[in-house]
Subunit: 493 residues, 2 copies
Amino acid sequence: MAKTKGPRRPRAEAPKGFRDDFGAELAERKAMLDTIAAVYHRHGFDPLETPAVETLEALGKYLPDVDRPHAGVFAWMEEEGGDWLALRYDLTAPLARVAAQYRNDLPSPYRRYAMGPVWRNEKPGPGRFRQFTQCDADTVGAASVAADAEICAMLADTLEAVGIPRGDYLVRINNRKVLNGVMEVVGLDDPDAHAEARGIVLRAIDKLDRLGEAGVRALLGQGRKDESGDFTRGAGLSGEQAEVVMRFLAARGATETETCARLSDLVSASAIGREGVAEIETIADLLAAQGFGADRVTLDPSVVRGLGYYTGPVFEAELTFEILDEQGRPRQFGSVAGGGRYDDLVKRFTGQEVPATGVSIGVDRLLAALRAKGRLKGATEGPVVVTVMDRDRMTDYFAMAAELRAAGIRAEVYLGNPKNFGNQLKYADRRAAPVAVIQGGDEAARGAVQLKDLILGARIAENASLEEWKSQPAQQEVPRADLVAAVRRILAR
Amino acid sequence: MAKTKGPRRPRAEAPKGFRDDFGAELAERKAMLDTIAAVYHRHGFDPLETPAVETLEALGKYLPDVDRPHAGVFAWMEEEGGDWLALRYDLTAPLARVAAQYRNDLPSPYRRYAMGPVWRNEKPGPGRFRQFTQCDADTVGAASVAADAEICAMLADTLEAVGIPRGDYLVRINNRKVLNGVMEVVGLDDPDAHAEARGIVLRAIDKLDRLGEAGVRALLGQGRKDESGDFTRGAGLSGEQAEVVMRFLAARGATETETCARLSDLVSASAIGREGVAEIETIADLLAAQGFGADRVTLDPSVVRGLGYYTGPVFEAELTFEILDEQGRPRQFGSVAGGGRYDDLVKRFTGQEVPATGVSIGVDRLLAALRAKGRLKGATEGPVVVTVMDRDRMTDYFAMAAELRAAGIRAEVYLGNPKNFGNQLKYADRRAAPVAVIQGGDEAARGAVQLKDLILGARIAENASLEEWKSQPAQQEVPRADLVAAVRRILAR
């Protein structure tokens, strides 16, 4: 017999890789975004909000590892034969579009901050979502590396403002021009002809943390076989060439001056390399003069940053403390923000070079770090719940809640089916209510209300038997006229 | 000769119907959203943030006038043969999905608020955008109309909190059940068989404001020809049937009691109608008991609300003051929020009826109203601009800005090309800077800075000749050590 089929019901699920955020986590995120915005604002950055949707051509193709057309972004055709539209994958591409579109109206330099969701059409995985929040600050129209220094200093200030103490983070700075100088010195100077080898070298440098010196050396040379037996092809550098790269990686000295001297020595044969070293020297001087020591912001040749569009200084903020991973093993938390100079992004639109630099903070990762360290309060303040003993007296209960709110106290009337009073107290528990207000006919007749102190109640419940609980003053009767004052006394405890 | 073509540059434009929001307007919107969130929160509502993207099947088809499949939403196929995904078109459909997905984990009733962008794939026009902000509060799982009353009261409180004074708004309440009762009385009781005529009647009621009584009567009967000669087909009611509808529209009395008595009389033959009247009576009683007079929240039979999914009370907040339209003619500002009860939305997913009610505030319209009435401050505080007289002394200028910021004063160093000092002052103007800080070699040598009071300067410039301006104390020299204190004195003026 054929099954009778009703209309198929839709699945009650967010699409794969998307998530819903609730109460306490949202409150934490909002507090963090507000704090970051305040720091950015105090530095003279103005807010900008671009739409979620851009034309695909305006976004360009700056996502890494894009083989298929439009891979990495959510894109669709506006209408048959119309424009391709897409969800923004970061906040930088829309800024470049805005800087070009409003170039005659915006102040120059234009400092702006932006915060909001971005979307990546990537395979979702544990902790990898297809919508996440970024929080960016950029300066458009400032050629001076003073702009880069400012962003790095502001990044350090921002991390401290959101609750990462000094010593638990490090802003590391490098310069693509120094990297390009190294490439030139080892003979990989043509970005097109040597594209593949340059890419392998950059990725090898980026993996120093994970692979160690020997692993990087293998990748610079013929290639590397990992534990699983998989072989990664190398850049094919000679031992001598590889040695230059390794010396570059080891160039970090005890002081910024020493680092700069070593780098300068290494790239002395390259004009672009010398320019790059001079730039990071200036950045280091500016930061030192403002009191940012190397314990907060430091030069580090191993910083690469993936995106292809960087043209000068690049930087990265890393949390230096360890957390336990899913398997309970300690590991460094790692990068929570990154950025750099991208002088060509606006040029895509206008043909004119517009210098720009900026940083993007991964707010969700930063929140996860603070959570892992137990540095977020987590719980939000639950409402006082006015219970319903007598459903014909809803107006009385509403009046109580209104009085509490007028006094600035979060309060609500129970709006479920009032028949089972136990359910109402369970509800109050679930809402993390600090107080339940109870008024049956008897209390009403004598002009009183019962107040149940649920926080004290929970504490007693943990440490005492039910009988003892009943005898405790976790519940008290007060005159109806004293409702607000009595609730306030309980909340103040 | 063929034109030489370089690679085509992308257009620097947001897609049609999308806009960018800058500094001051964003600050105003954020302040409004924060205020609304605070009111919602104080009423016991918890924040929820769902992703921008939902499966198309989860969203359902609740947009009005949807003929083509997926019309009205931005939708795309996830991958060849995969799910259809779409941008949410409101915040209610995602809430229904969440209420179904997490039904075992959420408190019940679940009060939640949400704010954020929604997207409509509609033809853009003046003032009509394809992305706009909504700000919703809903209660899921409360069958009692006390939940509807709470939302209406909260809506009135919210409007006052964002700056609409009492008397300038009205929350109008009706009930779909009363409307259904009227339909039953006039013989259009079958939602399917009489779908078309019912739709025409509802739209006619909704147009009372614009068409007046005669226009509505024509639409209830054979139809109506407008000034342009266009004919709109009517519902085909007899004169007697139409009379019932007209009496319904005129049922609003001097008091809520009178309104209810008239409605009760009108739908006495319909069970659903009687139920509807009883519900709005209860709502009116609850509101009156909390001190919400008919000058703030009132019963009004002409409220229809477009969306097909409402099943009970419906409400609408209207601003009652006049503004001037684009042609300079006065007109009522109209609706800024609306909502109602939708008991069937969650059922789509679970098969079980889950009562729900809620309101959506059109934040952009509300901001436009406050702007039109001059009730928004508009300007944001510009930063103090530290100018650059000597580009070798950037560290000094950065130190000044850092000192000002440490004292809580918004400050920045000019980061453009410092060669032309006039450009720096123009920049400071554009940034609405209150003060420019100037230190050339001479000032530095004597340990001083010049402070230019740009607000005073602008005021003098309006009322005095250039010569007079020069003699004014709009510029003063202070010891470098007094920088912060002196800037503070100027800002305090």
